[in-house]
């Protein structure tokens, strides 16, 4: 509904006018940036000229180093989502399917969910070492909570008729999960996955900035250490665009599924 009202508003103003306003905002922001860079108000190189950032971005994209580190971060995020996601779905199914267990343990999920997970990093280092294991663990615990909470909520919102239909066909536990629960909970689980993906990326990247020798977070902190600010901006642009693209991809997947359902 919000989408349709937004589309009608776009139709009212005209796509061209909205695009022109966007263009104007971008031009003003870039001009402001360039003015600050040339003004000398901040320390030299803290706000580099746009041309310098552009060159750093091109150089960065041509470096094989970037892709090796991107691969390391992507694999850590991927594995952490698989581990945290599966654990989250299992716990969510258990708590959402049993009222007593839900009332007993779900409050802890809600309480621990908004806790800054990075403070668990020293524990993860001790348990899983200084390599990729501790980063995967950081991503997994970050991803676990939104997945578990969304799955539990989705499980409780399943239409009782669907459950009765499954039981009337004498479906076993496995069949109920694969044929009734999981398909009915898909929207809630995709929401959990989208939230989980975002926090898993943050968890892994922050852990890499703290203690690592590979990954995009490591590259960012290395450019800070070398005071290569233009490269740091270029890296941040790449990381932000990738994170936004990953998030948009999962959102689009959810929309496609809803459309197809």
């Amino acid at each position: 509904m919000a989408r349709s009202s937004s589309m009608s508003a776009v139709a009212h103003f005209g796509v061209g006018r909205v695009a022109r306003v966007r263009m104007a905002i971008v031009v003003v922001l870039l001009a402001l940036w360039e003015a600050v860079a040339m003004s000398g108000w901040l320390f030299r190189d803290v706000v580099p000229r746009l041309e310098k950032i552009g060159r750093a971005l091109v150089t960065l994209l041509a470096k094989p180093d970037l892709y090796a580190n991107l691969g390391a971060t992507a694999s850590e995020v991927g594995v952490s989502i698989v581990i945290g996601g599966i654990a989250g779905v299992a716990v969510g199914l258990l708590l959402g399917g049993n009222r007593t267990l839900g009332k007993a343990f779900e409050p802890y999920l809600h309480y621990l969910g908004p806790t800054p997970k990075i403070i668990f990093f020293p524990i993860m280092i001790m348990w899983f070492g200084v390599g990729g294991g501790s980063k995967i663990a950081m991503g997994a615990i970050s991803c676990f909570f939104p997945m578990a909470i969304s799955t539990a909520v989705g499980m409780r919102e399943i239409d009782a008729v669907l459950v009765r239909v499954g039981k009337s066909f004498r479906a076993g536990v496995g069949q109920m999960v694969t044929k009734i629960y999981l398909p009915a909970m898909r929207p809630a689980m995709l929401t959990g996955l989208r939230l989980g993906l975002g926090v898993a990326i943050i968890g892994v990247l922050l852990a890499e900035t703290k203690l690592s020798n590979r990954g995009l977070g490591y590259m960012v902190i290395q450019s800070y250490t070398r005071f290569d600010i233009a490269e740091m901006y270029a890296l941040l642009i790449v990381v932000f665009l990738l994170a936004i693209a990953a998030n948009a991809l999962v959102s689009r997947l959810g929309a496609l599924r809803r459309g197809g359902a």
């Binding site: 905002i25 803290v46 020293p122 348990w127 960012v220 005071f227």
Partner: protein
């Protein structure tokens, strides 16, 4: 309405949850004592419990909590003022909203906290860097929810305001803002939560400030029981903050 029967059915699961928690701690204590879990990696839960006194009396955890709370308050104030103002601006200027709302939503999905090395360069290794990171990360939900709250004000309320010939500012103060307040608060709550998470996180990463730095310091000292106690303390602060803001949110929902 809560009946005696309801209360009875609620206390049972709460007791089960607490009993399980105590049982897990007791099991971990036993496993460490018999040597199944390495005591150099996981400290005895009883030692963690005892070190609470030490972190309060000797390590000044309350002072550090106040430092973090002050940073969160500063970031929260900035989020509230700038987030609501920008939200109102986007609501009032439809063309700006159409042009920028997706960008704000995209920012909410970006790992903004990763910008902290840049802020270290710009602002230095001080509380300003931490506050600015908290502010930045809390801003998108505050803006988006303000726009959503104002846009979803019921048409009939706006028409009532018009029938009383209210000026645009009166319309805003007496109709739009009160009607949107619960939704705006949801955004502020999310924003404050993101701000708090990132503030503690950056304190930990740059080893400066309150509770985050405290955890990092204890980890570097390899004082495991105190480190676990400090982590529990941070969890308690998060839980307290979560419950307080949830209660205010419910109250605002009822007032509406």
């Amino acid at each position: 309405m809560t009946t005696r029967r309801d209360t009875g059915t609620t206390w049972g699961p709460i007791g089960l949850g607490l009993a399980t928690l105590v049982g897990v701690f007791a099991a971990v204590e036993a496993m460490i004592r018999v040597g199944w879990i390495n005591g150099f990696i996981v400290p005895l839960p009883s030692a963690v419990l005892l070190s609470f006194e030490r972190i309060i009396v000797e390590e000044g955890v309350l002072r550090r909590f106040l430092f973090t709370a002050a940073e969160a308050l500063a970031a929260g104030t900035l989020v509230a003022v700038c987030g609501t103002s920008l939200g109102v601006l986007l609501y009032r200027r439809q063309i700006l909203r159409l042009a920028c709302e997706n960008w704000v939503a995209a920012l909410a999905a970006a790992p903004l906290v990763l910008i902290y090395p840049l802020f270290l360069v710009i602002f230095g290794r001080n509380a300003l860097t931490i506050v600015m990171i908290g502010f930045l990360s809390g801003l998108p939900p505050a803006i988006l929810k303000t726009v959503e709250g104002l846009s979803s004000t019921r048409r009939v309320l706006i028409d009532v305001g018009r029938s009383f010939n209210l000026s645009p500012s009166q319309q805003f103060r007496k109709i739009l803002f009160p009607a949107a307040l619960p939704t705006i608060f949801v955004g502020l709550r999310l924003g404050l939560m993101f701000a708090l998470i990132n503030i503690v996180g950056v304190e930990f990463l740059i080893n400066f400030g309150g509770l985050g730095q405290f955890v990092n310091e204890l980890a570097e000292r390899y004082d495991l029981p105190a480190m676990y106690a400090a982590i529990f303390f941070v969890i308690l602060v998060s839980v307290g903050f979560f419950l307080l803001t949830e209660r205010i949110e419910r109250w605002l929902g009822r007032v509406r």
